[in-house]
Symmetry: D2
């Protein structure tokens, strides 16, 4: 178990009245990720609703802002105790045996055109042994063949674009890995989170995007951009792809400032767990059922 602290500040200049915001920056609460404490400050005295999406477990906050400055400050202390398993014991699940709530993650989505990648995925990964190792091979292929570079892609960039242009940021790596998994009938979803293990040389902490793949009856974590230590990932929201889980979706004329994020750990996730370089372990923040998402206390 590691205890982690998140501190997040967002700021907007709202120019039109009635600008709607959908936020998805609250930490998820699952059997393996418990919110010890959390606090939210919103600078405007507006009504806000926080709902728990029944299908995903995402905690979605909505509000309608007034013109002027809107500031949000979110602080949380979170205990993460991943489910840990041995990769060689984790198998793929035949389509006929997948739970119904997993089926949508087999299908193509806005940024993951898995329907177009079948021949490529089968020729590249079709003969590998099925199981966790094959998914790891997909992860490794994406990391090896795509170059990480800021400001090379935008909100329109999809998995097919990344397979073509071979460059992008964590979101693009995730989309390509997801599309390749689905093309092989392996359910995969897009996850946003905070990354406690990122190299400080890469710049200040930022939102991170990674992948969860349904194997052996639960969702396992994979980080195709390779920048994160999975033990130090705090999950915010999951969806089919980035379209579902933007940390802020804004309807209206608004100027945004870059988010300010501070991360802290009482125990260094990398040291504590001796992960990932020395022990190959499969990690999951998920207990496999729809009922495993808990309402925060």
């Amino acid at each position: 178990m590691v205890r982690l602290q998140i501190s997040l500040e967002l700021a907007y200049e709202v120019t039109a009245p009635g600008s709607d915001f959908i936020f998805a920056f609250h930490a998820a609460q699952t059997r393996h990720q418990r919110i010890v404490e959390e606090r939210l400050n919103v600078s405007q005295p507006v009504h806000r609703t926080l709902t728990l999406d029944p299908a995903s477990g995402n905690r979605v906050m909505r509000l309608q802002a007034m013109p002027g400055t809107l500031r949000l400050a979110y602080d949380a202390t979170i205990d993460v105790a991943h489910h840990i398993a041995l990769p060689e014991q984790i198998g793929e699940v035949p389509v006929a045996q997948l739970p119904a709530h997993v089926l949508p993650f087999l299908m193509p989505s806005r940024y993951c055109e898995s329907d177009r990648l079948g021949r490529f995925a089968i020729s590249e990964f079709g003969t590998l042994w099925q199981g966790y190792g094959r998914v790891q091979a997909i992860r490794d292929w994406v990391q090896r063949h795509v170059t990480f570079a800021s400001n090379t892609t935008d909100g329109n960039t999809s998995a097919v674009d990344t397979l073509t242009e071979r460059v992008g940021v964590c979101r693009d790596f995730a989309h390509l890995m997801i599309a390749l998994c689905r093309a092989l009938s392996i359910p995969a979803r897009f996850t946003t989170g905070f990354d406690f293990g990122a190299d400080p040389a890469l710049g200040p902490p930022d939102f991170h995007a990674y992948v969860e793949v349904w194997l052996g009856g639960r969702w396992y974590l994979f980080d195709p951009s390779g920048t994160a230590i999975p033990m130090g990932l705090v999950r915010l929201a999951t969806g089919r792809d980035a379209a579902d889980v933007a940390f802020a979706t804004i309807f209206g004329t608004v100027q945004s400032q870059a988010p300010v994020i501070r991360l802290g750990a009482e125990t260094d996730p990398a040291r504590h767990m001796e992960w990932p370089r020395h022990r190959p372990e499969a990690l999951s923040t998920d207990a496999g059922g729809l009922d495993e998402v808990l309402r925060p206390a």
Copy 2:
């Protein structure tokens, strides 16, 4: 209320063992669409599972076929008594007040790139009065600007393609209408069904695709391809777009025959309801809540 009969036959030649099928051809069961009787025959003695998707209410059947011929015959008698409302009394719902289960239908999806159509949608429909009438105007625009022509599009064709090329089939009309609604922050989803009112001159009965839009607290029906009489639509499945609700998704090497569909009505849906030419009415098969999907008796 109209009582309708469906008869559907599907046939496949399966060449590889272990070919998985996901079928979504069972009629939905809702407060406004009740299954009086249904019967399914499957030619192969294989295990099959029929699940009710918790998020969509779709009834999804899966099986793993053996090599050889696979035949399915589905017959159902269905009572449809749409919720009927007056268009002028149906408003759009502000984003902040949408139920959580509706939010996914605001987001772009594989075939509905609403994120790219914001400027166009606002310039074309942004100044219209909000409400059912504006959605009807979107429906009319799509019908007027797109030409219906078979074999002009394929499984890769998206809303942006249809806006560009201005030709397609019912699925393409639906995708474009959905993308335009979402670009205006109006939730919209893709629905498959049978169409009892189609002009016989257009060929034998086929699966139909249309649109449901969240207005005034429930999903209302719109048929942008304009070929159907909404009162005669029997709903099968709903999803973000065609990727979610194919009547058959096949994993394996399989040859398909064209489906054979027979439709019957004890009362002519068009005559009985005098719809749609004489009375403008808004129709819904939905009662607005997630709990309105019923398990078939």
Copy 3:
């Protein structure tokens, strides 16, 4: 006739040896645009070749730079005396009567997918009277339906993208207008130039992109982004689209500075010609034949 002065400075930091540059910033020399004087300074003592492309009349300079700073300064004095005609006397040319050298400009190109826009172009412009007026209507449509905004598009943006997203810069306006003309079997090409009439409030002078359309036996100027006074356009290069006529195409690892451009006129092109607000005139820098491109003195 107006006498115009161009002054252009380009600067690059070349990091790898053997970086090739293809430049297309020399003013074209035609019967209607004569180079009175020009001067080029290149900071590196490298071999350079200046060729006159036989098909386009473009003056293309190539060189292979050494590591370090590469600076180019180009100054030219140019007399422009456009061919001027009355719009109502200029007709479209049937395909069968087009000169062979014009045919490539009927075909789709990298950024002008005219093959996909046939139905749209015909439904929007198909019933208009053929001739200069119809092309002017296409120009006006593009200007009215696309919003000019910097940094909204990139080197991958094509006419279909612009028709979808309705935003861009002069290059995007030009690509969309060209694609619509070709979709109606009207030859159109992409032209780069300097724009002496641009509103100084829009920022410092920059390279401009506009359109030439083959009508009545020669190429006529159209400026769909609407920022330029055609009488003040100095033509550099023409091609099928922006892929052909970048002012600099670079093969190698090079950092570029923004070009510095100064424009001067002995007589104000706008005042002198009282163009375009008061007299509708059709302008051409072209005399219609391949032989009208002159070698600079």
Copy 4:
């Protein structure tokens, strides 16, 4: 030298008056491909023009048909004596030394988005020895990674699509190979022709599409779909991609029949030249200059 016979029949039902046709089915005449005899019959007594495009050497015939049936029959006897060279002696040409008329074939075009493939091409082929062998490696990669299958692609399919979906016909193989060459700054163009060596088991003779690459001062032949014996290729037209050299481009409402093609050889091109399995040879129908295109006698 081989002497080859072509017989081609085309048939159209023209429904609207004034339907324009651009045909590019005449055999090219070069120093290495001489037309011994040719004959054209056109069923309608309409005016037709045959022009020699100055840039490409393509022979383009235009006519405006009357309503009714239009039949064309073209017969030609052609002597082909390719320029033959040893692959290991053929190098790539630096950009700075390319003739001006070759530069357009470095640039991206409608179906060859080479601007998007730079990172991929460099990572896959960037470290290979430059020269004919590297281009052969590109050809082999395309043939190995793309599956030949009829009716899987259409007139909208581009190189990026083929790199994604890994399936297509000869035209798609050619587009992908061209795009990869250009991404490495190697000029490449699209060529249409007849293929005398195709396996009869693949169906009746058809138009073929292949690639010419500028190496060592002339255009060399490559056939990435691998179906043809290069010695038996008769060149019709060359262009940037398929958009330029359709054997028939039609403006109007016309129904087409499949072309009927008969090919004959006085000497079997495969046998005579013992090509290609036993001797690796580089072939060219081109003598390197713009002036090498000859007017047919």
